[in-house]
């Protein structure tokens, strides 16, 4: 679906005319990310991150396929193979550093994309399906990133795998057999490493498939915008190309500068030195932590140090960690306010920033040692996290008095000047 004023694709050459009648692929692209997709004229830079996430997915697939050409998922050689890539393979260091930092950047842009969704309530009707698919993509990304981090078979790889598969061991009755089945052994070893490699290769293509569904679902209502007011007329929109291809291109340039700084000058800043020690099942690193992008969820996992209502602490932590993401699935139905944008919701906006501060705290705590005061702070931050979604958000949407919304996107951008908005033809001057 698109707006009635969307530009129609018209093949210009004999070849494109021939193709259009047989496989209208250029038409699909034209309507998806070309001039045929009318987009609100007022998108700010927070709307760049979807395209950036798509870029990093492609980058991860390309560099990942290259790395797979030089890697072997055998526990006796995996660690050495990564060093082989770093030292012997032509440009191998670049491929690996791009892949490792690319994962971090993928998560950075995805987090900003999600937080954009929180602030502008992008999850509200009629865009719930886009949001739900987005949460699915995020879960797939987490699984992919986790398994990818195991492949270098360093200390953090091994112990991370052990702790995370240990989560499944917390499930009553079936937990332990399930953990052994997932690992193909009693501890992470060859069997686990091989299956993680196989799935790490597969899942990005599954993600690409869900991304296509995500974009398909997006094109039905069209993009949201910072006012949260739906598109009403042609003057509210501009064609995606060239307006947003240019804006996204600029954003991509900025992000790539930062990315290049990381890859070339600080390639290990976001990693853990322990992972340059080969996996040793008999020695636990002093501090086992996942990659930084899992910190908030790891902090929630570790926050539960006490039994509650006969549920053991370990199981509680696991449930809370999964719930902290699964709760996003019901977000469209927790926030019942008819107003989308945080700009017009004075009370919501305050609590949005408190949630951001809370998540920043969880990010910090997830990487800290499991000792006081960090445990107590994790418990408070976890409690607030769930309080925000389950209590604060539904209450705000009941009691808040939103600020008046502009009549249209055009009015929000240009004021009530009808002439500037293009609704009235300009007066002919004398």
């Amino acid at each position: 679906m698109s707006f009635s004023w969307a530009r129609q694709y018209e093949p210009q050459t004999g070849v494109t005319k021939w193709l259009d009648e047989r496989l209208p692929l250029p038409r699909l692209v034209y309507n998806a990310v070309g001039a045929g997709y009318p987009v609100p004229r007022n998108l700010n830079y927070m709307w760049n991150f979807g395209v950036l996430a798509g870029f990093f997915l492609v980058l991860q697939i390309i560099t990942g396929v290259v790395l797979a050409m030089h890697y072997a998922s055998d526990a006796t050689v995996a660690f050495a193979k990564v060093e082989h890539i770093m030292r012997d393979v032509n440009w191998g260091w670049l491929m690996r550093y791009m892949h490792a930092n690319g994962a971090s950047f993928f998560f950075i842009v995805i987090y900003l994309h999600i937080f954009r969704g929180f602030f502008y309530s992008s999850y509200k009707a009629p865009r719930e399906m886009i949001w739900l698919l987005g949460v699915v993509i995020f879960l797939l990304m987490m699984a992919t990133a986790f398994m990818g981090y195991v492949l270098p078979w360093g200390q953090m790889s091994f112990w991370g795998a052990k702790v995370i598969t240990g989560l499944f061991g917390a499930i009553p009755v079936v937990g332990e057999p399930l953990q052994v089945w997932l690992l193909g052994g009693f501890a992470p070893d060859d069997a686990a490493l091989n299956r993680f490699f196989s799935l790490h290769f597969l899942l990005p293509f599954v993600i690409a498939g869900v991304v296509i569904l995500h974009i398909w679902a997006l094109h039905i209502p069209g993009s949201s915008n910072p006012t949260g007011v739906e598109v009403k007329k042609e003057s509210d929109t501009v064609p995606f190309h060239p307006y947003y291809t240019a804006k996204d291109g600029f954003g991509l340039g900025v992000v790539l500068i930062v990315f290049a700084i990381m890859v070339f000058f600080l390639p290990n800043m976001l990693g853990h030195p322990d992972n340059y020690i080969e996996a040793n099942p008999l020695s636990t690193p002093a501090l086992i932590v996942p990659e930084w992008y899992f910190y908030p969820f790891y902090a929630i996992l570790r926050a539960f140090t006490f039994d509650f209502f006969f549920v053991p602490a370990k199981l509680l932590g696991v449930i809370a960690m999964f719930a902290s993401i699964l709760i996003w699935f019901i977000l469209p139905w927790l926030d019942k306010s008819p107003v989308r944008s945080g700009h017009y919701r004075p009370l919501f906006r305050i609590f949005f920033w408190i949630l951001m501060a809370d998540m920043a705290l969880l990010f910090y705590l997830g990487g800290a040692h499991a000792e006081e005061p960090y445990i107590m702070l994790s418990q408070l931050a976890t409690a607030y996290y769930f309080l925000h979604f389950l209590v604060i958000l539904p209450i705000i949407s009941q009691i808040e008095k939103p600020r008046p919304l502009p009549y249209s996107i055009t009015e929000a951008v240009l004021g009530k000047d009808e002439q500037a908005a293009g609704n009235k033809p300009a007066e002919t001057s004398a």
Binding site: W159, L167, G184, G185, A191, R302, K314, A370
Partner: protein, 191 residues
């Protein structure tokens, strides 16, 4: 027109029962059921292939001699590719472990429950924290033994006492005592 071709049409096969059931319904249900059962049966090998393979299971028992372990000392061995702690308790550690009331324990077990008769001072446990599987500290000289003098898991801060029982922290149960037996006065076979 039906008589002009050899092909059966829907109106030619109806009505061998008053309830509208046709012979073709049987074929449909039988064929789909057969394909369904066949499809489900292929899931079994697909799921089973992920379970531990024969070579992994073959390494499932370990023998070791506890004779050389002095009181207060512990050794780390490998059992099923996981660390195994064997510790000979000192008199003080034995007394400490036996002094604790069962009501104070998260996972109530006496020291006698966790050792073999006649070898009450030999504590054999997995070196795997029951929280999320890290290796607790305390088996080697100079390591942090935690607040209760047994083992301490550095990952998420679980403290185990001298009988390897959970006393503090997120771990739900005591350090697992694997199945083992004394094959002579000092040699144990685990698994």
């Amino acid at each position: 027109m039906a008589e002009s071709t050899g092909t059966a049409t829907a109106d030619m096969i109806v009505g061998d029962g008053d309830d509208g059931v046709r012979r073709r319904d049987f074929i449909n249900i039988a064929a789909v059921s057969f394909a369904g059962i066949g499809g489900a049966a292929t899931l079994f090998p697909l799921i089973s292939q992920m379970a531990p393979s024969a070579d992994v299971l073959a390494e499932s028992s370990t023998e070791l001699d506890t004779g050389a372990i002095a009181p207060g000392q512990a050794i780390k061995a490998i059992f099923r590719k996981q660390p195994l702690f064997v510790r000979r308790l000192t008199a003080a550690e034995l007394a400490e472990a036996n002094a604790v009331g069962l009501d104070d324990l998260r996972d109530p077990q006496t020291l006698a429950d966790r050792t073999k008769e006649g070898h009450g001072d030999v504590l054999v446990t997995m070196g795997v924290c029951t929280h999320l599987g890290c290796v607790p500290l305390g088996a080697a000289e100079g390591e942090n033994k935690g607040e209760y003098g047994g083992y301490f898991c550095p990952c998420h801060g679980s403290h185990y006492d001298t009988a390897g029982r959970i006393r503090k922290g997120p771990a739900p149960t005591n350090l697992e005592v694997p199945e083992y037996e004394f094959t002579s006065d000092s040699v144990i076979r685990v698994g």
